[in-house]
Structure formats: structure tokens, C-alpha cells
Symmetry: C2
Subunit: 513 residues, 2 copies
Amino acid sequence: MEQQERGRRRERSRPRRTSGGIKQLPWRELEVRLGPLELIDDEALEAIHRASLQILSEIGIDFLHPEAIDILKKAGAICEPGSQRVRFDPALVEELVAKAPSRFRLHARNPAHDLEVGGRFMTFCSVGSAPNVSDLEAGRRPGNFKDYCDMIRLMQALNVVHLHGGYAVEPQDLPAATRHLDALSAVGTLSDKVFHAYSLGRTRILDALEIIRILRGVSQEQLAQEPSLFTVVNTSSPLRLDGPMIEGMIEMGRMGQMIAITPFTLSGAMAPATLAGALALQNAEALAGIAFGQAANPGCPMMYGGFTSNVDMKSGAPAFGTPEYAKAVLVGGQLARRYAIPYRSSNVNASNCVDAQAAYESMMSLWPVMLAHTNLVMHAAGWLEGGLVASFEKAVLDAEMLQHMSELLQPLVVNEDELALDAIREVGPAGHFFGAAHTLARYETAFYAPMLSDWRNFETWRQAGAEDATQRAHRLYKKLLAEFEPPPLEPAIAEELEAFVERRKREGGAVAA
Amino acid sequence: MEQQERGRRRERSRPRRTSGGIKQLPWRELEVRLGPLELIDDEALEAIHRASLQILSEIGIDFLHPEAIDILKKAGAICEPGSQRVRFDPALVEELVAKAPSRFRLHARNPAHDLEVGGRFMTFCSVGSAPNVSDLEAGRRPGNFKDYCDMIRLMQALNVVHLHGGYAVEPQDLPAATRHLDALSAVGTLSDKVFHAYSLGRTRILDALEIIRILRGVSQEQLAQEPSLFTVVNTSSPLRLDGPMIEGMIEMGRMGQMIAITPFTLSGAMAPATLAGALALQNAEALAGIAFGQAANPGCPMMYGGFTSNVDMKSGAPAFGTPEYAKAVLVGGQLARRYAIPYRSSNVNASNCVDAQAAYESMMSLWPVMLAHTNLVMHAAGWLEGGLVASFEKAVLDAEMLQHMSELLQPLVVNEDELALDAIREVGPAGHFFGAAHTLARYETAFYAPMLSDWRNFETWRQAGAEDATQRAHRLYKKLLAEFEPPPLEPAIAEELEAFVERRKREGGAVAA
């Protein structure tokens, strides 16, 4: 019986000492030594693969830009005159997709924050592209530049967040034509981690490329050899790739920068109401995008993105962090590995507040995301409400969950010292290990120390205000912002960046887009 | 960029229609088609195995009951005269442990609720043995018979809960000597699922055996052939097995009933401050318990239980649902599979309230629990505060998470119909699938429908009262109790049970224990 478990727990419980600062895990590149986990067998995987090739050869996909049509025609795809529809011979798809590299390194302006992408490496992105922002104090509000900058600060401060996955929240109070200049120079100065640029037409991407070049203090040639910027390209499911995205892809690839193709195949809405069908469509669109990217710039670093989830059939509302999502993530990983292309998926949930639902839906994402050997985890920290909100408290909650994953991935060492037979001998039956030399030698570092979890006993916790995890996350994010110091940036670089942004603003920004 | 993901979501969002009753997944036996996931390699596993055999042969383990010493002596173990210490030759341990069956069936009084135990089958238990109970309305309070009965009703009503893992909450208002009679007759009449009996001495187990025999309407001989009752035996770590537990084990095994041996090896307290050491100790104690059980009653159904977690080294407070816990669960599964004995682990957390921490710690348990091929998941629904509280809201929250797991384990079908090429052809680029025949044919059943998750859009949710998952769980549990109807029980059986309980109460209950 478990009464003993409990009795012992109580007996040994003492109030926890409070710590001074916020303890975090150190910055780490993560290798997923577990798995990968295969949800479906090879036969089923090949059936999805074949179905997607059939979609691309029989139905085709629309590329909404004449340059794409030209590039694909030259590569051997079938494009009828005057049509945006492109059909691919299966062999052509496989030939083009094979040109994409399996592994590469993303370069940050701080080399300590460079990231390996591919294989068993897993990287965590901040939330990206939320139109709204929220915290417990000021509630839910439209995205703005102040919150945008605070989100950057928070993501820079959280060691477990590896890179910025787009604007955490859209700074809607900035003019559209120059917003990218302010937003990118903010992320480049307030943070020294890798960041993302939106493929919203050619101009914005060219500006972003120049901004990262200046920040890294490298030549165009070196930049082209060292992927330092990334963009996520969503297909407009079903079966369409938009013009501004195509322009961005061409420029990013030309400069050797990373492109993550991500179909948004919501099963029951933009994709069939069966997971197999939605995955066949996802795979067709991902392969078409990768094939196009490689036709435009052979060998440029790309990722296979999966974002397949389902809708609530009664309302059409999208659902995230569901069993279907978990399955789609796992199969997406199997497909990406089949093509030997790094995999992107996401930490998602559809909750309207930072509650238990937000946590369990996120965990229903994070576990399969890890077990699928996801290389780039978008929205890993801060995503709420199906992506309509970037939440400060959710960012801290997520960081805690990501830290759990990070720690889980550290190897369990089994050797004579760790097996502790001497300690077991010393303590013997009915003793305890609190005072054992073996224990004392590990006092500080033995176990993972969470930043958000509260393990105090009930009475102590109640008397201290009975704060739940969300309220504690609020305090933590405020503290992280209060203690924030921007990473160092050489004055010459800061000046060059400022001058570039000013000039481009005078020119009107992305006037052509 | 993901702005499109968002735009699309919004465009398609409509408020969800509310449903009448509480939709649940049906009762299902679960087969874990995923994994198993191996955390450590064979060499490390063998090192743990060897270390535990060394512990049992060199240090030994205390059995605090003369009957156990007699049984083990006869079986060939080394017991010095006048000592409780028993040492095992490694070969003897392996020989005895090999007698335990790899698979068996647990019989409920309702045969529809019988359960396969072993292999890839996974069963979910209610919370067991909490001294306190809580809900949002009345707060945290000492365990009592009314709440005990309500917990049984709730667990009977939740299809995803397969069996009762001990008293959900201790009915402290009942006299100790006869408590087991009231408690067991309540679980046997308010529920028709398999239940647990505490090995608190011989008398209580004999009473429990008679109660389940009456409830099932079978002979002693048939009962002995059909495991219908189970008990969890915690070793008193380190390296001790208590007398009342030993008596219970002997009687349970004699009647062919199931015994789950579970060392409570809290790393840093009752076990070394290293996971490898704690697991070596866990394994030594589990093997010793199983060896004893098999020496007493060869072939009786037993389980290998793991409950290794760690303490917060700064306070001594136990931690649950941590990265260390996840690792211990995975390695525990590897060890249980090595011995081909069904595996028991748990869904745990250390939160003081039903919040995001309770959810993420539980998910940090449930995923490894599933991937370790746990056969019996103790505390699957309702455990809070490291086991000090059984929570009504947590029970519903857990049931939702268990349903996620249950649904995840349903196979992803890949065939022509599910691949939906015809629908993809029909819809074509830039269309959508809401109105497709393929979608309409699956309208009702396409996706998992949660009972707790709220996917309405923010405004609708806010206007409806902005309830978080915990508040919704409160409403759900109240509704489930309000709608509860006890499962049918033949009047003759009810009478026989009542007469037995009355007689045993007149006799004073467990006076000898």
C-alpha cells in the first residue's frame, strides 16, 4: 500500500529555502538520444509518399509567381502556357529534394549561440506571429512595439530558448512598410540569438539579409556560406504557394539562408478530414516547396515543416495539441527522415488562458515533437490561443517544460560511482541517505532544479499566498525583464545598423511590396 | 511566415455549439502500439541488474516476519539464525523471479471490465491512498467516507479509468478495525471495476478475498484460478519488507491474486542521490519481493513496480513528474521487460493545486509511463500534492489526459479511402474541404472530441465566463456525480455481501491486525 509512500514524504518534508535569483539551466545544444518513435510502419509511410507524388503529378500545385514557373519549367516540371499550375514527375521531385542538405549550422551574431540543425539536434524557437499579446496584469491587447521588444528581451533571457521564430507578437503600431526595419534591428540588438525574417516579398528579405550581415560583421560572401537567417514559408493549403513567399524564397536561397517549408494542412478544413489524407497533402506541398527551393538554388538549406492538426468538426475551430496533432507530428518526422531533410514542427495549444489545458496540450505537442526528432521547434515558448496570442506567462511556463525536456535529454550515467553500492552498503536496511557521504558530495547538483514548479508543502504554500503556476510565471517574467541586460554589441556595428535602417526608412521601406 | 496560419484560423472560426451530456470515449482495453522506448543501452541495463543482485547477495534485505524467513530458507536463501536479514544467491533470485507469469487477466464483477495485464496492455487506476481530499467548492479536507464514495462513483463514471487503485481517499471517519469492510463493500457495490485491497495484515486480506468472491458469485476454487483482486506492496526502502505486508502477500498469493511489489526509492532520501543507484536499489527490492512472492506461492501473478523519483535536495521535499522521474519510469520498464514481468508505474505530480504545474508534471509522467509499456498505471486519475490529496478536479483533468493517450493509441489507418486522393482532386488548389463529400461522411466521428478542453474563440469564451480548465473540471465532476447510477448488482449477492460485512463487524473486524 502507498500509505507508506505518503508517510515518508511527510516525515521528510521541510519548507524549501527560497533562492535569490532565477535559476535556469545553462544554454545547451540539445541532442535527442531517445527514439525516434515510429507511429506507422514502412508500408504505410510509403503509401503516403506515393500518394503525395501522385498529387503532384496528377493534380499539380499552383505557384503564384511567374519567376517560379520559369524556374520550374527549366528544371523539367510541366507547366501549361498561361497557367500557374505546375505538375511534377515523381522522379523530378525526388531528384530535386535530394539536393537539399541534411545538416547545417545556423550562425548567430554571438557564435556561442550558433546552432546545429539536422540529425538528432533539437532547437527551440520563441513564439512567432501572434497578432495579440497578453499578460495577467494588462490582459489581452493588440500587438505593439513595446511588447514586441519585451518579448525579445524575455526570449533572450531564457537560456532554453535557442532562437527567435518570427515576431513574437506583431508590432501593429509601426507602419507596415518600415515595420520590418524596426523589428529586425530590435531583435538584432536586444538579442544575440538567431532570428527569422518574413518572406513578404523581395525587399523585406533583402533588408533582412543586410541587417544580419551588418550584425555579424561579415561579407556577403561569408554570409552566403553561413546560414544566419531563416524564414518560414507556409503554403496556402491546399496546393498553392503565394507570390511574396516565392520572392522571399528565391532571395533567401540565393544567399544560402534557411527556408522552412510548412504546409498548413488543417484536417477537415484546408485538408481532408482524415489524417492520412491531410498528411499526403502536407507531404505533397512540402515536397513541392522543397523541390522549388532546390530548383531555384540547389543545395540551399531547407527544412521539411509539418503543421497538420485538425478542426473541431462541430464549429470549424482549429484544435492543437490533440491526439491527431501528436500523430501528425510523429508521421511528419518519419517523412522528413525518409527524405533526410531537417524537420520543423511546433509546440501548440488552443487554450484561451494559461491554465492546465494550455499545459497538457503543449505537452501533447512537446513529447511527440521530441520523439519525432524535430530539429526546429517553432512556437516553443509563448504560444497561446492557437497562435492568436503571445503570452508572457505562457512563455515562462513553456520554458519550464522545455527545461524538463532539456534535462530529460541529458544522459543517465551508469557507472560504479553512480550505482552507489558503497553508499547502499553504508546506509543498509532501514537507514536513510540524507547524511550519506555519497549524497553530501552531490548536494548542489544532484537533480534538476525547476524555475516554476513549487514543491513546498501545502501549508507553507498556502501561507505564502497560494499562487498557482500561472501567477508564479507572471512574477518570473517580470523579474527576468527587470534584470535584463542587452547583450554586448560593438558600437561600430550598432552605428552601421542604425545608418542602414535610417536610410531604408528615408527610402520608404518596403514600398514595392 | 505564420501569419497565414493565423488568418485562416480566424476566418474559419465560429463559436462551438454546446453539447447536452458529457461525451466520453468508450471503455477500451489499451494496447500500446508505440515503442517501447529504451533510455539506456543493454550494457547499462545489465550493470543495474548486476548491482542489484550484488546488493541482495552481499548486503541482503530484512523481512520482518518469521513466516517469510521460513519460506525463504526453504527456498534456499541465506538467513542467519535470529536475524531478519536475508541474502540471496544471484541464481536463486533469477530462478524464483522466472516463476512469475508474464501475462494474466484481472477479473471484475462485471466481465465487460475484465483487464488483460502484461505485454503491451496498459490499464489506468484511480488515485489511491490519499489522506486528504479536495475540490474547489469545499477546499482541502481530511479523507472521509462520503468523499470516498463520491470518488468511487466518479471513477466508475469515467470510462477511461479501468480500475480502483486502493482507497482514493482514506475514510478516516470510519473505525480502523472495520474500515476495510465498509470501504471494500462500497467499492464493490458502487462500481463494477476491479479493485485493490491493502495488505495490512492477514485478516483484512482474507476479508477482501471473501468480499470479491461474493461479488463475483464464484467459488474459492474459481477465484484462485481467476485473479480478481490486487494489492500493492511497498517495500520500506531501503531494503526492508514489513510484517503486515508479508502476511498480505502470503494470503493474496495463496489465492492466486495479484501483487504489485513497489519499492519507494526516493533518490536522495531512501535511496542514493544518483538515479543509477536509486534504480539499482529499486531493482534489488523489487526482485527480492517478487522472489519472496514466488517462493511463497510459485506462479502467482505479480508485478514489477517502480516508484523512483527524487527529492528537492534543498528541502527534502519529494518531487514528482520531473525529468528524473521520467527517466526512472523508462528504465523501470526496461528492467520489467528484462524479467518478463508486468510493470507498474504511476501518474504523479507535486503541485499544491490543480494548475498548469499539475498538468505538466502529470504529462511528464504519462508519456514515459506509456512509452515504458507500463501495464498498470497507478494514481492515473486524481492524484495531487505528491499523493497527499485526492482531487475531484484533478480526476477530471487526468481523465482528459488519459483520453488523449487512449486516442493516441488508436491506429492511424492508411488506405485508399483515408488517403483521400479523390477529395483532394475534387477540391483542388485554393479550395477547402468543409463541404467535400469525404468530409461530410466523417462529420460526426472524424476527430477526438475532448470533454474538458475548450476550443471556443476568445470572445465567446470570455463572455461565457472565462472559466479555466480547473473550473470546467469542477462542473464536469459535479455533473458526473449528479448523473451517476450504480451498476446493477443481483439482490442475492448484495444480501450475501451485507450479511458477511455485518457478521465481520460483529466479530470486531481486523482485531488481530
